[in-house]
Symmetry: C2
Subunit: 333 residues, 2 copies
């Protein structure tokens, strides 16, 4: 018995049931009476959405991420926890690793705790195969699912994403304007975010009449040494590149170390752009130009949307936030 | 009404009451009968410690830290969450910032949730002034308090610490053996851990017959740029130093950048040692020699101790774990 049963039986949307539960004025008296009657009939006790009534809620949100020690996710968790706390919510943290099976297990565990919502932090928690996300869509029938920098369609699923495609488009265009022609794109994952970053890079090349060349698109583990070694190998094979655009600062740090190892000047002989504008960007000499993916803004927007859902407000199912290109010393612009 | 009332009334220790609750064989029949009688008399329902009975527990541990986006604490939270999950416990995370007032507020909030224990992650959550830790000691009368890399005395308080003093002693001694005489010690905090790191540095100097000089002991915010600027300033003032021992890798990265800025060779003209062996240590050229403070081991030991407390086992109130000196390219040894 849940809000969906009430919605179905009354023939109104979930948002409407939620508004009734919260005493919102944006419901006609006729509808309000109908919904309340159906609730009585079904013996429904408001829970998840019943913020205004303060009933049946544990004021706790489940936060899932693959690995809270990853710097990007560590910041996400920090901002989410702080933001939820400010609204009076506790956060139960689940670090799931990268196996789908473990993720499903922890997801169901959180559901069994009757958390008020689940936040999935990080692009990698959404699978490429639609069937593999079925458990999330099914769960959204009984509680709101919030995605931070991930995207999945479903009635009670809300995504907040960074406009990664526009960001890498801008970065690549700037590299081209500053004279680079052989831009290596190095990335770690085929996630939603990963796919968009790659598209932005390709868009910019095409827009400038430059070819998209497979040898210039390279996957690499998210690891400084792995990136350095891969670039040394490509260098050894004679691949010519005058810029590296990386999907993560870690890889960009590896590019700086590659340049040092072979004696290439930065940015004169090699331009480098990282992603996430993490503290790694400040560790290298020269410091990294990097794309700020606005994780704090993403988390704030996610929480605002969630509070809107709880309050029965009309909230967008998808919020997009623009990235910023932070110029430092590894680029000529 | 709690386990302490039972303990007091029965005239036995809390550990004994806990053993009775868990059906441990290490209790005499006479004592067992006495404790059970007192429980009946007081109308006591087992909660926090009653693992074996599976009653009155929410199987949830509160984890407090100042800032989960700090890399050291981010790893601590990751290992704690994973370890607790493996034992069937949820983790409620609280990021408290650095104000004592906020910490107390969140601490009491966790207590009001009836969590089974509270883990304080990070040395900075214990104050220098005993009176300021009173709220922790008071709370330990009703639930176990676990400290990760912090130290506080109390009957139901358990500390797991890294032997920071031995670690900086070894590092400083190695610097001296490799020819360094003017070793700058740069640190961020006067926490329990901070004080021990400083003592280890001083011990080593004294042990080698070298003087302890105030101008060589410098406090600095935990920030790459701040450390770099401070060293540039000291350099400008004419202070001679041939090594930097830092209480955090961030500061050591700043030292590498200072050396690059003034053209000093590493390690020939300047040796550098960081602390925590974080991913920052791999970002610089050359890579940092760093002290591995074994955060994973600390977290594992903390959880083992906590499970021991829940099971009524005899557990040490303090566990000390040795650090490792990881040699890379910023030192001559």
């Amino acid at each position: 018995m849940n809000i969906y049963d009430v919605s179905r039986k009354a023939g109104v949307s979930i948002a409407t049931v939620s508004r009734v539960l919260n005493g919102s004025p944006n419901v006609s008296e006729r509808t309000r009476a109908l919904v309340l009657d159906v609730m009585d009939e079904l013996g429904y006790t408001p829970n998840v959405f019943a913020r205004g009534l303060g009933l049946g809620t544990i004021q706790t949100i489940g936060i899932m991420c693959s690995d809270s020690s990853d710097p990007y996710l560590a910041h996400a968790i920090y901002y989410l926890e702080q933001g939820l706390r400010a609204h009076g919510y506790d956060s139960i943290l689940c670090c799931t690793g990268n196996s789908l099976e473990t993720r499903q297990k922890y997801f169901n565990l959180l559901r069994s705790k009757k958390v008020d919502a689940i936040i999935l932090a990080g692009s990698k928690l959404v699978e490429m195969e639609p069937e593999d996300n079925r458990y999330i869509i099914d769960a959204s029938k009984s509680l709101p699912i919030m995605l931070v920098n991930g995207c999945l369609k479903g009635e009670n699923i809300y995504s907040t994403v960074c406009d990664d495609r526009a960001a890498t488009h801008e970065a690549t265009s700037k590299l081209i304007s500053s004279g680079c022609r052989d831009i290596l794109y190095v990335y770690t994952s085929h996630s939603y975010s990963g796919v968009n970053k790659l598209k932005g890079y390709q868009d910019a090349l095409t827009g400038c009449g430059l070819p998209i060349r497979e040898p210039y698109i390279r996957r690499c583990p998210k690891d400084v040494a792995a990136a350095r070694e891969m670039l040394l190998r490509l260098h050894g094979c004679g691949l010519k590149f005058d810029a590296v655009l990386a999907s993560d600062d870690t890889l960009a740090v590896g590019a700086v170390k590659y340049a040092h190892a072979v004696g290439r000047g930065i940015p004169d002989s090699l331009s480098i752009i990282g992603y996430n504008n993490s503290s790694y960007a400040l560790c290298t000499d020269p410091e990294l130009t990097s794309i700020d993916s606005k994780i704090e803004d993403l988390c704030t927007a996610t929480i605002n949307t969630l509070m809107g859902v709880f309050n029965g407000s009309n909230v967008p199912s998808r919020t997009t936030i623009a990235a910023d290109l932070i110029k430092r010393a590894t680029t000529k612009f």
